[in-house]
Each structure stands twice: as structure tokens, then as C-alpha cells.
Symmetry: C2
Subunit: 587 residues, 2 copies
């Protein structure tokens, strides 16, 4: 993740107000306050837990159900083999510097940026060390000297079962749970390509020094999907639907020119000019933009920023971050759109020795020149001993062309797998080239991955819903994610109004609405309480209700009120929550 | 957890069939198969992930929404302070024995049960060691001698942040996330009692040797709720609704008499005879029974088994396990109903030094005799040095009556807190007894906790849905939890039928149904595929559809078919999924 910068300071008290509201009304608060707090963790209270669930459901509906994709659910803890194969044990790291006086530990790159104003992007450890010394960077706590920075792995480490040598990790992303199941999932997709698999769940990232609040967490919920397609047939079948849609892109070229402002391009233009390299990535970027629109974040408050080579994750050939303007932190990443290519499947194939390739049938048989490879077990056994079985298996999974080419060019082929490199010489194999008719081929699918941070999205939704009117908070949450949909309020707590209100409360509950009954305090105070909780509709039962059976229905956003017959109330509310402007019609 | 015993062996191939179906159709399978598997972990595939989510939603609807309770969402990882206070670092353990020859580790109590047929329940480590030696229990793997059993803590351990001494654990239950937030949650409940807070989420239990499958997992999903009530006013306000309902109880008395069969008692009888000690526990036990009924598990296949003193968790004053008959494993616990009393709040109050008591107002002021306690700081400082501040704070949170009584009886009071015991002598405090008028009092609420294992419930739902007809599998999942609700099938893949079917597919999707389109293979094969997936309804588009706009609607359970006009299809389906017997009416 990139460091958060460029906040709009004049707005930063907005964040403070939201944090205060979030605590007071039960959206979220820092975890483990009873024991002095634990930074990097937050608790969702009753309103926040439902808001978060509703955003999750909305995402599943739009990205899984509507797209006809699959959803799976795999464990948080995984054995080390998985994360060694995926590259996380080697690459999921940050530089850390200890203070030689007080012993505190810091993100070395952050210190350099904070104290010297210099980006540490792409610096090797020794260079970083030199830069820290050159700019006289010291411990922010005690001013002591810093020791040379070291690599810190941000995987949470544990052991599985009673054996201390059996290491496991908390997953830093849900993706590996999909990749290790590729074979089974491809079968469930009836061996067709393309197909997509999504997962929503907890992930763990042991950040060195997370800030407070919901932006940089050690435990977070990620919603992501891996979309597998044939790299020789990368066309997105749904491109027509989104081709003319505009995306705001701050692409690599602009960044290299020192620009900060995105340009607006249609999807077609962005693909033609190669600013987006995979069509399916472009498709899901449009969906991501629209998803944020529906959470209340307009086009002008979001754009896609390309990650430069040095900034990208180790698996990615191209990544765009979807960023949203937040009052305290400036533009913050809420989703990533990485083209992971076949990196992960390739790594898992090499590590496990299991063939993960998908068979793709040609439309009609092709005559192709093809190498076949025969491994010479005896020779391999002489050189590699007990590893020779594995070497044979790995060799047979390698495209023979690759081996042939290397042997021709260098006289040897470096076979990688299982963390080892084996030198294959011409005498270890027989390669034959022949023309054959093929009905299909075995390929490793390419993958694009839209990946969303649910915690940041929940916070962003709150911030974009936040407004004030007459010195009071009105939380204009989108209708479909509001934790409480309808408040039922007797005007006063006597003369039969509470009883009538309870009836209407039960009626609406029975109809499936999320309803809250409240009879404490003045009606004005109760309206205010509901505005603050983001409840779109308040229904008031008054003396007229007892006479003619109508109730007052109040719109949170406009404070408009209309009278509706109690019997027609469920239908009225259903229309409202389907997005219709029932108040304009009725008043 | 109790060892699983007494399986109905004649039925055990049913489990095998379900496991096979679960893999083949994508309900669940063992995790990390690519790397040889990792026992204690399972993956939910596309059908299983949705089934599990739907059972979760149903639970939330019945136990949270309908009961008007709160739902929160707190982290999996917690700092050690939390689990030291809760007693899990000390008590969440099992005895483990290592083989002196091969080094393998085993659950010592399981070995004794398996090899000697003797229950290890309640044995201390030395007694267990003696029993293992006496009955010549050996390593099941290599026959080697066993070393003396040791205690193994089943918390997954990790470190938080870059400091190796900052220990954290994966939570073994979601409950502590509720207890540590008690103050805030009680405020959000507007300082009223009773109130309840639920949480659903991943938990981690590092079992020593979990069996395959979904029954004993190292990572599991728990749905639980903590219901807080005033111990001086323990009456359940909803008792009337459930008083006459029958519960099947295998209570302590029966177990001590050596009985295996539960008796049927009404809730009223069970409470009157003190077989259930807390009214609120009885209330939620009825809800739990009904919840399982709705998942397809009849009263005859479930009952509640009381846990004996030695078997209960360290925090519980009374626990009933809800057990369900499963083909391979006999009666298996799917939910626990513990009366945790004020144990957890008391422990967290003592560890944190924060007053967690709730203020309860009397209906009218009472004149009471009351002790007041004044701590003598100077004396305490002399004895306890730097701890004296904490001792003072802890003393002030202790009911003065308790201190007075102990000083009178023993001449000293043992003050416990923060893992320490401080001896308080008469000269450290002044106690005065006086009659005062009180408007209310501060109390620690008592807690009952219904806690459900979602993974076991998901498996049990599958097993009770499993049936065979004409040598084929028909999975009779309850309508409201079926992952796919409706299959849309063109009779043949030509003559305009697929196009018409696609229209109807879109129509139903737009109406919010979970629909799957399938045009591959014969119609009989597709019906079979859907029966196996548990899809309650199949809609077939045939030549008559093109003529008169009607479709064939087929009921999974009865294989009955009726013709319905496509325009009326959404309404027809809605009625069906609301539980009405539309096929009886229509045919």
C-alpha cells in the first residue's frame, strides 16, 4: 500500500466529527479500549456492523450474482507452503528501523518521508540506510540514532497443531484460497473459460505502525474476485456494454510527466492507447466506478491511479488503484485492479508439482509444429538423486519450446520449482520437433483481480453521507445500505398512541423492513436521533392516526412530510426503497 | 468439547455419500489439497458458501432482528490481556502426550478412551499419566512408549506489530469481543437491562488432532449472543410465549443415574424442577430447537444434554448442549447454552480496573444497611509499593460487604486482580455500616449465551436434506436456505427456446431470485443435476411456451409439475418461497 498524502486540511475536522459520531452512535470505535487500545483494529458497533454487511451484500449482488460468478469461503489461516509459493513470505515486507537508544521500531521509509521529505520508493535497504544517515533521520520518540533498516515480513505468523515447526500464516488476501482451488473450481465451471470466483473475508496484515481509525488496519475485510481468461483469447464479451463509459485515469505516462490530475478517457480510448492492458480489467473498473457512485461517491471524487513498476505488488503486470477523496487523508485507495497474469497459478504449479493448466479446445483442429520432451530418468537420477522424481515432473509441466530454446541459446535450461533451481543439460532430455494436428491446448489462464477494502469503503460511505443542517447531523446514507430503514415513533407516550405505533412497528417488521421503535424524548429529538443514524424514513403516529388511520411519513434528506394510510404504508415504503421519488409525487 | 461417540454405524455410509456429493457439487472439501491437505480446515465451494451464508442470515433474522438485539463485529486477533482476563490462556487446554520413539503428539485423553475404553473426564495430569501407564497405552502410529502428558493450550498464538514480546491470540469464541465492549454497548442500549448483543464470525481453536470433515475444525464460524440481565430480576419477559413448549432434556440427574435417553418436559416444568436454572436460557433453548426444526431437523433427532461440572467450560454455572443425531458420529453438539453468570465481566473488571457495573434504578427508593469502605492509601503504599494505586482502585470496586465479612471471619481479605492476590488486613481500610436511602444500585449483569457452530449446522442441514429416489440424490434443502432457488431450463437448445429461456432467466433475476440457467445435456439429466444441488424449483421452457406463454414448473421434492403463465411466474414463486403449498393448489 502507498503512503497516504495530500489531505485537504481545511476539511480534516470532518473526519474528527465522523469519528465522534461513529463512537457515540455505534458505527465503529478502536478495539480493546478496555486494555488501552490496540492500534490497527476496530470494532463495528450495531449500526456499523449492519452498514458493513449491507455494503458487502450489495457488492456480492453486483459482482457475483449479477455477473453469474461463483463465491467461495476458505480459511484465514494457511500452511506456509501456500504463502511460500505465492511469494508472500519473500515479498510481503516493509523496511523497519530500530532506535538504538529506546528500542522502538519504525517504518524506515515513512521516517525518511516524514523527516526529510524524500520518497523511499524503490530504494534497496543499503540505499535507504545511507539516505537515513545522510538526512540525519532520528527516532521520533526519543531522538536516538537509528540502526540499519531490516526487512520485516507483515504476515501474521502462528503454528498449526502441536508441532512448533509447522508454521502457518494469516492470509494477507483472500486470493490464494481461490488459486489453490483452481482445478476444482474450473471443473465446477464445467471446464470453461472465462470464469470468475469471488471471496469476501477477513485478512491479516501485520502493519508496523498503523494509524488509528479504519484506514490502515491490521485486520481487515477484503472483497475480491479472480477472473480467469484464456490469454490467447483475452476479449471481454461484455465490452460493448461499457465501451463508451468514461473513466478518470492517472496513468503511468501522466505520472512520469509529473502530473497529478487524471484525464477522462472512454474505455475504448483507454484500451486503444494501451493505458489499460487487459479488457476484463477495464470492464471491472467501470463496475467499480458505478459501485462507488451508488455508495454516494460521484465521479469527481474518485479516479484510477496506475501503480508504477516499483510500486506494484510482486505478482502484477499492471495495477490501477481506485482512489477516493477523503477529508483527512486526501485520495485513498479503496480498490485495486491488478492484472496478475498467470503468476499465481504458475507458482503453485511449480511448488506443488500438480498440473494446473486448463484445456482449451480450438474451434477447429490446427496443424502445429510442436516439440515433445522426453526426460531421461537415469541421467536425472544420477545428477539429482532423490529430487529426480520431482525434476522429471516439473520438466514435463514446462512448455518444451521453452526448454528447447534455452538449450539452443545457452546450452542449459534453469528449471525452477519448489524454491530450487535445477540445471538441465542437453543430455538429460530428448527434444523432438514434429508437425501434429491438435484439437486444443493446455494453458495457464490469465487473471484480473478487482479487490476492494470493505472497511475503507464503509468509512468512505459514512463520510460522503455526512452532512449538517441547522447545526445537526444528517447522515444521508444511500437507501439500500442504511442500517435502520424505518423509525416508528408515537408522537407522545400516552392516549393509545404507543399501542397503535407498536402495531405499525410489527406490521412493518413482518413485511421484512429493518424497523426501530422509539418513544423516548420529544418528537424533534427523536427525528434528530434518526437523522444522525442515517435512517431514511420516520413514521409518526399521532392523534389523526387514531381518527383516519393515516400516519406521517418523513423523508430524512428533505425533511418533507406526507400523510399515508397505514394500510398503504408497506407498498409506499417498498417503492421508496426501490429508489422512486415518492415524496415528490405525494406532496 | 466432548468426544464424539456412539455413531450409528449402519448409517455411516450416508456421511460418505454426502462428503462425495459435497466435493463433486461444490458444497465443501478439505482445504489445501494442493499441498497434501491440512486437517481441521475446510473450504466452502460455490453452493456451500451460499448455503452457509443463508443459514447465517436466517439465524441473524431470528435471534437478532426479531428479538430486537444488537449485532456487532470485532476482530479475530486480540491482545493477550483479553484472553488472560477471560481465563483462556489458563483453561483453554487439552492434555497432550508425545511418543518417545517417533515424536508424534496425541490427545492423551483420547488415547486412553480409544485404547483402554476409559473416560479421562476430570482426571488431573498425574492421574492421566498413571492411567496411561496402567493400561499400557502406546503410540498408535509406531507403538512407542508415551511421555508423561503435558498441557497444551489450544489458542492460536501470534505477535502483533514488530515486537516479538507483544503476544496476540486468535479468538476461540466471539464472546470476549462483546464483554470487553460492555460499557459502550450498555450505553447504546440506553443503559437498560436486559439487552442482548450478538456476533457472527471466524474463531480459531488449535485442536491437537482434528478429524477430517466439517465436525471438528481448527477454524470455524460461530454465531453467538450474550444476553445480559439483572441477576436480582432474572425473570424472562417472554416466558409466556414458550412456557408450554416441550424440550427434550438429558439433565444432570438422569446422567448421574446412568441414563442415555432424554425426558420430555415443558419449559415450565424444567424451570420448576430446577433442571434449567436461568429463565432466559430456557427461552433461547426453545428458539434453538425451533431454528433446527426449520433447518429440517425434527424434535426426535435433537435434544439438550446437560454438561456435568467437570465437563463445563471454566466460566459456566450451567450448560446444555443442543445435540443432533448425525449418521457417522452419533449425537453431536451444534449449539451450547451456557449460563456464564457475571464471570467474564467480573474478570475483565478485575484485570482492567475499570468499573463495568451497570446502574439499576429501584422502582422506589430503598432504605438499606450499607457498608462504606475507605482505603488507607498510606498503609497500602507501605505494603504494596507501586501496586498500591491499583489495589486502591480494585478495593473500591469490591462490594464492601464482601470485605467486611472476610475481615470478620478470617481477619484478612484476599483481593484478586490482574493475576495477583493482595492480602488486605483490617488496618488497611475503614469500614462503616450505616443505613442510607438508595435510589438504585450498581450490579454486574448475569449472562446467558446461546452459541451455535455454523459449520456443524451447515453439515447437519445437508445430512437431513439428503435423500435418494430412483438411485439418484435429491437434496431436500429447506426452501429458504437453498443456494439456487430456481433453475431455468430450455427443453432443447434450438428453435428459439434458449432465447425465450434467457428472457425468463433475466426476468426472475431482476425480481431478485437466485436463478441458474442450464442448457447442457438432456432435460432429465438437468433435473437430476438440480435435484442434487438442492434447487427447489425448475422452470422448463418448451414449445408450448412459444405458443401460449406458459412454462412447466417442477417441484424438487414431489417431482410434481404444473404449468404457469410466465407473467404470473414471479408471484407464483414468491408464494412458494413464502412456504405455501402452491403445487397442491395448482395441480
Amino acid at each position: 500500500m502507498e503512503r497516504l498524502r495530500g489531505a485537504d486540511l481545511s476539511q480534516s475536522d470532518k473526519c474528527q466529527k465522523i469519528m465522534e459520531l461513529a463512537k457515540r452512535r455505534g458505527f465503529f470505535w478502536p478495539s480493546y479500549e478496555l486494555y488501552g487500545g490496540e492500534s490497527g483494529f476496530i470494532d463495528y458497533g450495531p449500526l456499523g456492523a449492519i452498514l458493513k454487511r449491507k455494503i458487502e451484500e450489495k457488492w456480492i449482488n453486483q459482482f457475483v450474482v449479477k455477473e453469474g460468478l461463483m463465491l467461495i469461503d476458505t480459511p484465514v489461516i494457511g500452511p506456509s507452503a501456500v504463502f511460500e509459493a505465492s511469494g508472500h513470505t519473500a515479498h510481503f515486507t516493509d523496511p523497519i528501523a530500530s532506535c538504538s537508544r529506546c528500542g522502538r521500531k519504525w517504518r524506515a521509509d515513512h521516517l525518511l518521508e516524514d523527516q526529510a521529505g524524500i520518497s523511499a520508493e524503490g530504494l534497496a535497504l543499503v540505499e535507504l540506510d545511507a539516505a537515513l544517515k545522510e538526512h540525519e533521520v532520528h527516532c521520533p520518540e526519543c531522538g536516538g540514532n537509528l540502526e540499519a533498516p531490516q526487512v520485516f515480513n507483515e504476515l501474521f505468523k502462528t503454528t498449526i497443531g502441536p508441532y512448533s515447526e509447522h508454521v502457518g500464516y494469516g492470509r494477507p488476501e483472500t486470493a490464494q484460497g481461490i488459486f489453490v482451488n483452481f482445478k476444482r473450481l474450473h471443473e465446477l465451471a464445467r471446464n470453461r473459460l472465462p470464469f470468475g470466483v469471488a471471496q469476501v473475508g477477513k485478512c491479516m496484515r501485520n502493519e508496523i505502525s498503523p494509524r488509528q481509525g479504519p484506514i490502515r488496519l491490521r485486520e481487515l475485510t477484503i472483497m475480491e474476485l479472480e477472473f480467469f481468461f484464456d490469454p490467447e483469447n483475452p476479449h471481454c464479451s461484455k465490452l460493448k456494454e461499457v465501451e463508451e463509459e468514461k473513466l478518470r485515469l492517472l496513468h503511468e505516462e501522466l505520472i512520469r510527466e509529473g502530473k497529478n490530475e487524471p484525464v477522462e478517457l472512454s474505455v475504448r480510448e483507454a484500451l486503444e492507447r494501451n493505458h489499460i492492458k487487459a479488457e476484463w480489467n477495464a470492464y471491472f473498473m467501470v463496475k467499480a466506478k458505478r459501485f462507488l457512485n451508488e455508495l454516494g461517491i460521484s465521479d469527481g471524487d474518485q479516479f484510477f491511479k496506475e501503480k508504477l513498476v516499483g510500486e506494484r505488488a510482486h505478482y502484477s503486470a499492471q495495477t490501477y488503484d481506485q482512489v477516493v477523496r477523503l477529508s483527512r487523508w486526501g485520495f485513498v485507495e479503496v480498490s485495486g485492479h491488478a492484472w496478475r497474469t498467470d503468476y499465481d497459478l504458475k507458482m503453485h504449479m511449480a511448488s506443488s508439482g500438480v498440473d494446473l493448466r486448463a484445456y482449451v479446445q480450438f474451434e477447429k483442429p490446427r496443424r502445429v509444429k510442436k516439440f515433445t520432451l522426453k526426460a531421461h530418468h537415469k541421467q536425472l537420477a544420477q545428477v539429482f538423486g532423490k529430487d529426480s522424481g520431482r525434476v522429471t515432473r516439473l520438466l514435463e509441466l514446462t512448455p518444451p519450446e521453452e526448454v528447447a530454446e534455452a538449450l539452443k541459446a545457452d546450452g542449459r535450461y534453469l528449471l525452477r520449482g519448489n524454491g530450487q533451481t535445477y540445471t538441465i543439460l542437453p543430455e538429460h532430455v530428448t527434444l523432438k520437433e514434429e508437425e501434429v494436428e491438435e484439437k486444443g491446448r493446455r494453458i495457464l489462464p490469465s487473471v484480473v483481480e478487482p479487490s476492494f477494502g470493505l472497511d475503507r469503503l464503509t468509512y468512505a460511505t459514512l463520510e460522503y453521507a455526512y452532512s449538517e443542517k441547522n447545526d445537526r447531523v444528517v447522515l444521508k446514507l444511500p437507501r439500500d445500505v442504511a442500517p435502520i430503514q424505518v423509525a416508528v415513533l408515537p408522537l407522545v407516550s400516552k392516549n393509545g398512541l404507543p399501542e397503535k405505533a407498536e402495531q405499525i412497528h410489527s406490521l412493518l417488521k413482518g413485511e421484512g423492513f429493518a424497523v426501530e421503535y422509539d418513544d423516548a424524548g420529544s418528537i424533534g429529538r427523536r427525528y434528530a436521533r434518526m437523522d444522525e443514524a442515517g435512517t431514511p424514513i420516520a413514521v409518526t403516529i399521532d392523534y389523526q392516526t387514531l381518527e383516519d388511520g393515516t400516519v406521517t411519513v418523513r423523508d430524512r434528506n428533505s425533511w418533507k412530510q406526507v400523510r399515508v394510510s397505514a394500510t398503504k404504508l408497506p407498498a409506499f415504503l417498498r417503492e421508496f426503497f426501490q429508489g422512486r421519488d415518492v415524496f415528490a409525487v405525494s406532496s
